[in-house]
């Protein structure tokens, strides 16, 4: 679909059109080229990589051996598994905490509403600091536990505000009539409110999921056992700090794929879940984000 230009708006000249097109193309390329290079290099054979002198821009054949190595067990497979666990459980926990809290605080005038809402929103202004947070998380025994990556950030107050604003905009008559019919609050939330809130739950769920998938610093702080490293931690030690991860020794007889291809394969599998999920949720962004920004 193409929007129509209002009659009073003069059409831009050719030079303007060209300039605009060039800038937008450049912006898109700057984002896409690094992703493309990572993808193509990860699928290249040793010969292709050697011929290119390193990173590959133009694909010549497809070679999955780098992916076979990283999925064959060893540190990267383990880290992908850890990150998947943390992302799935973390997102579930976060939604199970955020949605009821947002609903429970969506009705001004209920018992304790003012005080509790203040208790939630005050966290925007107060920053506890790294050291005390570290002492509390280790103090409650979460050192080297994957829960340390989940619980401290399980409730994001910004997400809470977004969901709450959405609930407050639902038609009140609908909820009131359900109440007259004798439905309890839990039932109303589950049967009436949630089915109407798929968009906001999708957006907030994506925000949480991405947060858990991307968790790095918490893992640096709290996880010493490298069996429990999430993928970002492995990506950092492997690519940025230049260590070689242990892969399982299945490649007997066959030549190992080049390290560069393995590195880029790790980059690709780190990007892939985000790139796969995000387009489906993207159309709800504006609504979710703006609602929160305005109400907050």
């Amino acid at each position: 679909m193409t929007g129509t230009r209002p009659v009073w708006d003069e059409k831009p000249g050719v030079a303007g059109q060209v300039a605009k097109g060039t800038v937008l193309t450049a912006v898109v390329l700057v984002v896409v080229v690094p992703l493309w290079v990572a993808l193509v290099t990860s699928l290249s054979s040793r010969a292709t990589i050697n011929a290119a002198g390193g990173l590959v821009l133009v694909p010549r054949g497809i070679d999955f051996s780098a992916y076979r190595i990283i999925f064959a067990g060893g540190q990267i497979s383990q880290a992908l598994w850890v990150s998947t666990l943390v992302t799935v459980f973390g997102t579930l926990v976060s939604l199970l905490v955020t949605i009821p809290a947002a609903y429970g605080l969506s009705r001004p005038g209920s018992v304790g509403h003012r005080g509790l809402l203040f208790f939630f929103l005050l966290t925007f202004l107060i920053y506890p600091g790294l050291v005390p947070s570290y002492l509390v998380v280790t103090g409650v025994g979460l050192k080297d536990s994957l829960w340390a990556l989940i619980l401290p950030s399980a409730l994001n107050v910004f997400n809470f505000v977004v969901v709450r604003a959405f609930f407050q905009n639902l038609p009140a008559e609908l909820l009131d009539s359900a109440r007259v019919d004798g439905a309890g609050e839990f039932r109303i939330l589950w049967r009436i409110v949630l089915p109407l809130s798929k968009a906001v739950v999708a957006v907030v769920g994506l925000f949480y999921a991405v947060g858990y998938w991307n968790v790095w610093f918490s893992a640096l702080l709290y996880i010493d056992d490298n069996e429990k490293f999430p993928i970002q931690r492995v990506l950092q030690t492997f690519i940025l700090a230049g260590q070689t991860p242990q892969t399982s020794g299945t490649a007997v007889g066959t030549a190992l794929p080049p390290t560069l291809a393995i590195k880029m394969a790790v980059v690709v599998v780190t990007v892939a879940p985000i790139a796969a999920v995000y387009p489906f949720v993207q159309r709800h962004f504006t609504r979710g984000v703006i609602l929160g920004a305005i109400k907050g």
Binding site: V31, F120, I126, P128, L130, L135
Partner: protein, 318 residues
């Protein structure tokens, strides 16, 4: 802010409790999480006034009770540490630089996108430019190393052309440009969302009337579009100012090794390297508390200023 409906208010407390207890049950888990992981650490900042020793008890709480209070000694030590002032200076100069060279870019990109007539082209560009916002800093830095680093694509191509490639990822002198480029790459697209939404709320009749009065494209931009964006711009500026002492913590932690402490140490990394890795918790907490205090002060001042110039700000005057 929240207006209380009078009919609800009038019911006695007990009756409201009988009616509303399920709501309280729903709020409870979230409130508990905030209590344990936000408010308890906030109170835990007392270690900033202690010679905190984690070995003075079996638990952090016991150690806290047993550690001696030393007044403002940690702050004195902090303020007499040159590395702290370096970190503060780095943080503030990065904030100022990005306020000038990053902050306006999403506005420009939003205006550009808004002027694209084809919805399909616009949606495509948006899909692409929002994506990096969802990448971790590890990934963003990885992409920059891969493209611009010593073994990256740029160096590789330059070397093949017989040119000695410049050091981009490890040069402390240009580090400010590098981190700003990374922030632009990651978040310029995402930053447009708010402005695009604000643009769509501007009444088209205003443009039409201005055009009828003979105002050209640029005059309409100056007299209608920018004033329409003003509340959002002010709001975001306040939020950014309140966050002036935080600049992409993970981003700097990840690159500190490569460019060195002198350029890449910011307040957050200072706390990490002077408290968590050394166990000097009281000292680090003092730095954290300093940061939180200044941050709170800045956001209150900025908000006050917004009210003075007649904007709504982050929270309403009450």
């Amino acid at each position: 802010m929240t207006r209380v409906r009078s009919t609800r208010r009038r019911a006695p407390w007990r009756a409201r409790l009988r009616r509303d207890w399920p709501l309280l049950v729903m709020v409870l888990p979230g409130a508990l999480l905030l209590l344990v992981f936000h408010y308890v650490p906030t109170l835990g900042n007392v270690v900033a006034f202690q010679d905190y020793n984690p070995y003075l008890g079996d638990s952090a709480l016991q150690a806290l009770v047993n550690s001696p209070f030393i007044g403002l000694d940690n702050f004195r030590a902090l303020f007499s540490t040159p590395a702290f002032w370096d970190a503060l200076w780095n943080t503030l100069s990065i904030t100022a630089f990005q306020l000038v060279f990053f902050f306006p870019l999403p506005i420009v990109l939003a205006l550009l996108l808004d002027s694209v007539m084809s919805r399909r082209v616009r949606a495509f560009v948006q899909t692409i430019v929002y994506l990096p916002h969802f990448f971790s800093w590890v990934l963003v830095v990885t992409f920059f190393v891969q493209m611009l680093g010593g073994a990256g694509l740029l160096s590789q191509e330059l070397r093949q052309a017989g040119i000695e490639p410049p050091e981009i990822m490890t040069n402390p002198d240009t580090f400010l440009l590098l981190v700003t480029a990374e922030v632009v790459w990651k978040d310029v697209g995402w930053g447009t969302i708010v402005f695009l939404a604000a643009l769509s709320t501007i009444d088209p009749h205003l443009y039409e009337a201005a055009a009828a009065d003979g105002a050209g494209r640029w005059r309409r931009l100056w007299h209608i579009t920018l004033p329409g964006l003003r509340p959002v711009i002010v709001l975001l500026l306040i939020l950014r100012l309140g966050d002036a002492l935080s600049v992409g913590f993970e981003q700097f932690l990840l690159q500190r090794e490569a460019v060195g402490r002198q350029a890449a140490e910011v307040l957050d990394t200072f706390v990490y390297y002077h408290a968590i890795t050394t166990g000097d918790y009281g000292f680090g907490a003092a730095a954290g508390l300093f940061k939180a205090g200044v941050g709170l002060l800045l956001i209150l001042l900025a908000n006050k200023f917004a009210h003075l110039i007649g904007e709504r700000g982050v929270y309403a005057r009450s």
